[in-house]
């Protein structure tokens, strides 16, 4: 179903090398801070369509789609707060997407993907640094991106001016990938 959607969005998909995520071995996590103390959350449900060949990184494309309400903060109280209107507003914005617009090599196995993160109905440019290792049909990708929650209207009102819950958030992706068919 989502595959069909992706194909509709990207009719000119280049099929350099397509990969699918092995969810049970992959993590999409974020680190935020609470009164200066880091705390981590993970998104339990997400999917990524990855078209990437390290020989031609500039032709690669990622589309990450996640269920924001699948966040696990290890705390019911924090989860309830996170769903509030001032924060992620779960009822209105249950999904977020990240779509790359350009990927370039940084040397060794390091790359930089520039793209748009659409979260809570707001799209903003985000840079994702990542490393890529692939061998035959198996691949793995580890990346992180820094963003300001306030850029996406996450934590509005009094929260926007407060660092009780820090404005800086680091998103981390660790994906184990399986190559789809011959490139």
């Amino acid at each position: 179903m989502r595959g069909v959607l992706v194909l509709c969005l990207f009719p000119a998909w280049t099929h350099a090398a397509q990969w699918e995520v092995e969810p049970q071995h992959s993590t999409l996590a974020f680190t935020a801070s609470w009164e200066g103390e880091p705390f981590e959350g993970v998104f339990r449900r997400f999917d990524a369509k990855i078209d990437f060949d390290p020989k031609t990184p500039e032709r690669g494309r990622f589309l990450v789609s996640l269920d924001v309400t699948s966040a696990d903060l290890g705390s019911e109280d924090l989860y309830e707060g996170m769903g509030e209107q001032d924060w992620f507003d779960f009822p209105h914005f249950p999904r977020a997407t990240f779509t790359t617009s350009a990927i370039r090599a940084l040397g060794e196995d390091r790359y930089l993907a520039e793209g748009q993160l659409s979260l809570k109905g707001i799209a903003q440019p985000v840079k994702l640094r990542f490393s890529w290792t692939g061998q035959g049909a198996r691949g793995s990708m580890h990346g992180d991106a820094d963003l300001l929650r306030t850029d996406f209207g996450i934590g509005t009102g009094e929260w926007a001016q407060s660092d009780e819950i820090g404005r800086r958030v680091r998103v981390r992706v660790d994906l184990r990938l399986r190559r789809l068919g011959p490139g």
């Binding site: 103390e37 009102g157 929260w159 819950i165």
Partner: protein, 185 residues
Amino acid sequence: MHPDPEPRWGTVAITLHWTMAGLILALFVLGWTAESWHLSPTKLKLFQWHKSLGLLVLTLVWIRLAWRWTHTVPPIPAGTRPWEARVAIAVHRGLYVLMVAMPLSGWLINSAANIPFKVFGWFRLPDLVEPDKALKAAAQVIHLSLFWTLAAILALHILGALRHHFVRHDGVLSRMLPNTGRRRE
């Protein structure tokens, strides 16, 4: 003629008593305000102070108990009826138990709810238990029940002290007041 030391509380005991009286009052005000405040940075700050001061009480109460165990405490005045003495002893023991149990049950709520918390913004408080929603709810009921118990026992404690002072005129309250030098006896 008293062979015993003067039947007054020592400076350490008096300081601890009134410091903790102030802290308990502050804890009540902060806890109640934080609980009723809307979800906002202010609410988090109120809770942070409430939790930090609660842990300060938990620390001070051990010092206080240690002082009690190593010092002779002023005697119950002669002429006290046995039932009054029993009530006085029970009230004091109850207060000590509650000064330990209240912060512990609060710590339990914080641990079970898995809220990151730094004591006075200084160091991360270790968790007593794994995150557990049901346990958190139970700990909240315990914390609130202990609060009402504390309020009732404190009322007895304060009424008792005032009765000693204004009805019995026996100096039981005065011996816990700072020595200002103008005390008669």
